[in-house]
């Protein structure tokens, strides 16, 4: 009797479906303007908090009488933007720092290691909450910077480990023996093998970032109206949930997109070599 062997990732169609969801969300983020959003002409206070009706207004209306589905679709842009911006910023720090630490070794490596440990131990999102709540003008970039500060140690760890492993490969020694300069060794021989390792970590980190944006906005320290994001909509919902439970529906978008990111991340983690 032996345990059934199975793949750690789900069947291929699940991953494909998740990828499709992400493409759809990206499409929404690019093309869905906020027409009825906070444009008074598209909303009517007469419809304030009207519950969902099928099939025309599946999400119902918010306090201002705007169609909640339209608002949620419009919020996709800021929610995804925070995730993507934070990832780009975090990678911009993590790739040079992690590569240097892994390649140079010695005290540089030790210093980076301690710094990463320190930031990992700090509840960054809470500190971000503290700092952001002291500021009046909180835009997407500012929130993304806080997320990037929380995310860079994860990437740095992964890149450091991969660089250190790659530097010990025979082909790197061979290039060194042939007289390649340090920078050539790094760029042509080490980095091509080490950068890929970070890809598997990206989707889950974006999911975390999108959730953290919702958290900050929910607690009143993230984005704020007239900027719309899923977090902002949920923060609004929090106040009137009693009269209008349908205000929780934007959470569906949040769950489906973060879920899809986790599925894609799992597939990448299992299939890519680490």
């Amino acid at each position: 009797m032996r345990p059934r062997l199975q793949s750690a990732a789900r069947a291929r169609w699940v991953t494909r479906g998740a990828a499709l969801v992400l493409v759809g969300a990206g499409f929404l983020a690019i093309f869905s303007e906020a027409p009825a959003g906070l444009d008074p002409s598209g909303c009517s206070l007469e419809r304030s908090l009207v519950p969902p009706s099928f099939p025309a207004h599946v999400f119902g209306y918010d306090l201002q009488g705007c169609d909640l589905l339209v608002l949620t679709m419009a919020g996709t842009r800021n929610s995804l933007l925070v995730g993507v911006l934070a990832t780009i910023l975090a990678l911009a720090v993590a790739i040079p720092v992690g590569t240097t630490a892994g390649f140079a070794g010695g005290w540089v490596d030790g210093l980076v290691g301690r710094l990463v440990d320190l930031v990992t131990a700090l509840p960054i999102i809470l500190i971000g909450l503290v700092v952001l709540s002291g500021l009046d003008d909180r835009g997407v970039l500012l929130v993304a910077i806080v997320m990037a500060i929380a995310a860079w140690p994860i990437y740095t760890k992964v890149i450091r480990a991969a660089t250190s492993r790659e530097s010990e490969q025979a082909h790197v020694d061979a290039a060194r023996a042939l007289g390649a300069s340090r920078s050539r060794l790094l760029v042509r021989h080490v980095m091509p093998g080490s950068i890929g390792s970070v890809i598997a970590v990206i989707p889950a980190t974006i999911a975390f970032t999108i959730g953290a944006e919702a958290l900050l906005s929910f607690l009143g320290a993230g984005l704020q109206l007239p900027d719309v994001s899923w977090g902002v909509l949920l923060a609004e919902a929090q106040r009137y949930i009693r009269q209008a439970p349908h205000l929780m529906l934007p959470g569906l978008f949040l769950l489906v997109v973060t879920g899809a990111l986790v599925v894609v991340g799992e597939a990448a983690r299992v299939r890519l070599p680490d």
Partner: protein, 318 residues
């Protein structure tokens, strides 16, 4: 390197991390706009003389480096300072009063995280059922993906009377065991999800190895092979993940405390941030970070004890 010297080095590193932590949090709170003394007076503006006197009493009139150094000198002597209020109390008393509730959330949360993750993972492995395997995977993905703030809030809305939900659990928090149920569910969902996904894929790798075939040939039962032999061999990366994710656990505790109005350290920190009461914020963050750093240290040392390769390389797995 022996296990002893590995452990000593790890302890030293933890102390340095704690020291840096005090500076980051202390300076961070001091840098953001807002005046703790002015905040005491609400809408009635104090006279400049009163302000100056109170500032001097709390040492806020000195240059920042002096303020930090005097805080540090106190801290080394085991003194966390006093709260900024009209009736100052020692920070240790204030934090101490809210610590038990938080300790229950952290302790029980961690315990449930480990048992749930282990149970669900083993369950997903050894029954030859596609349905169970698929179901556990989807649940783990959902738990990983759902932001804890959303889970906690949705549970509160559905299952407490506070928001016209079902009257199954008390809200606001009253300290009874019932009141801990929903916060712990939200916490454990967020914590156990990623562990199940990681443990599951490590286990599957192990089960493909020849050593599993040997165990099967030796006649061990399926349950024993999965739950004991393979689980032990797959534990390394999982322990490393658990150690590194303690900060995540603490953030989760603070969020859950805030959603359920639980009078713990997390809420104390959030309130004190609003009042810019630096000593309380630093004290609270320090106390919960000690949990995280100690936990990370224990995880590294346990991993080194389990796997000699780690201490031979002289560094913890990253």
């Amino acid at each position: 390197m022996t296990l002893g010297s590995f452990a000593r080095r790890r302890v030293l590193q933890a102390l340095v991390t704690l020291l840096a932590l005090t500076l980051v949090v202390h300076a961070g709170i001091s840098l953001i706009p807002g005046d703790p003394v002015r905040a005491l007076f609400g809408f009635v503006p104090p006279s400049p003389a009163e302000l100056a006197e109170l500032r001097a009493r709390y040492g806020l009139d000195q240059a920042y480096p002096v303020q930090y150094l005097s805080y540090l000198t106190q801290l080394v002597q085991g003194n966390l300072g006093v709260t900024i209020s009209f009736t100052p109390q020692p920070v240790s008393t204030v934090v101490g009063a809210s610590l038990p509730t938080t300790a229950i959330l952290i302790g029980v949360g961690l315990l449930l995280q480990l048992t749930t993750a282990y149970g669900v993972t083993v369950l997903s492995m050894f029954r030859r059922s596609r349905l169970v395997s698929a179901l556990t995977w989807w649940v783990a993905v959902a738990a990983t993906a759902a932001p804890v703030i959303f889970t906690a809030w949705a549970l509160r809305s559905f299952f407490t009377l506070g928001y016209q939900g079902l009257d199954w659990f008390p809200y606001p928090f009253d300290g009874t065991p019932d009141a801990y149920v929903l916060p712990l569910i939200a916490l454990v969902a967020m914590l156990a999800g990623p562990v199940v996904l990681l443990f599951r894929s490590e286990l599957l790798d192990t089960l493909r190895s020849t050593f599993t075939r040997f165990a099967v040939a030796s006649g061990h039962s399926e349950l024993r092979i999965v739950a004991v032999h393979a689980a032990k061999a797959s534990a390394g990366p999982v322990i490393a993940y658990l150690g590194a994710s303690l900060g995540y656990l603490l953030t989760g505790v603070v969020i859950v405390e805030s959603v359920y109005d639980i009078p713990g350290v997390g809420n104390l920190i959030l309130d004190s941030v609003a009042r810019r009461d630096r000593a309380v914020v630093v004290g609270g963050v320090l106390i919960i970070s000690v949990f995280a750093i100690l936990g990370g240290m224990v995880a590294d040392i346990v991993a080194a004890a389990v796997d000699p390769r780690i201490r031979l390389e002289g560094d913890a797995p990253r």
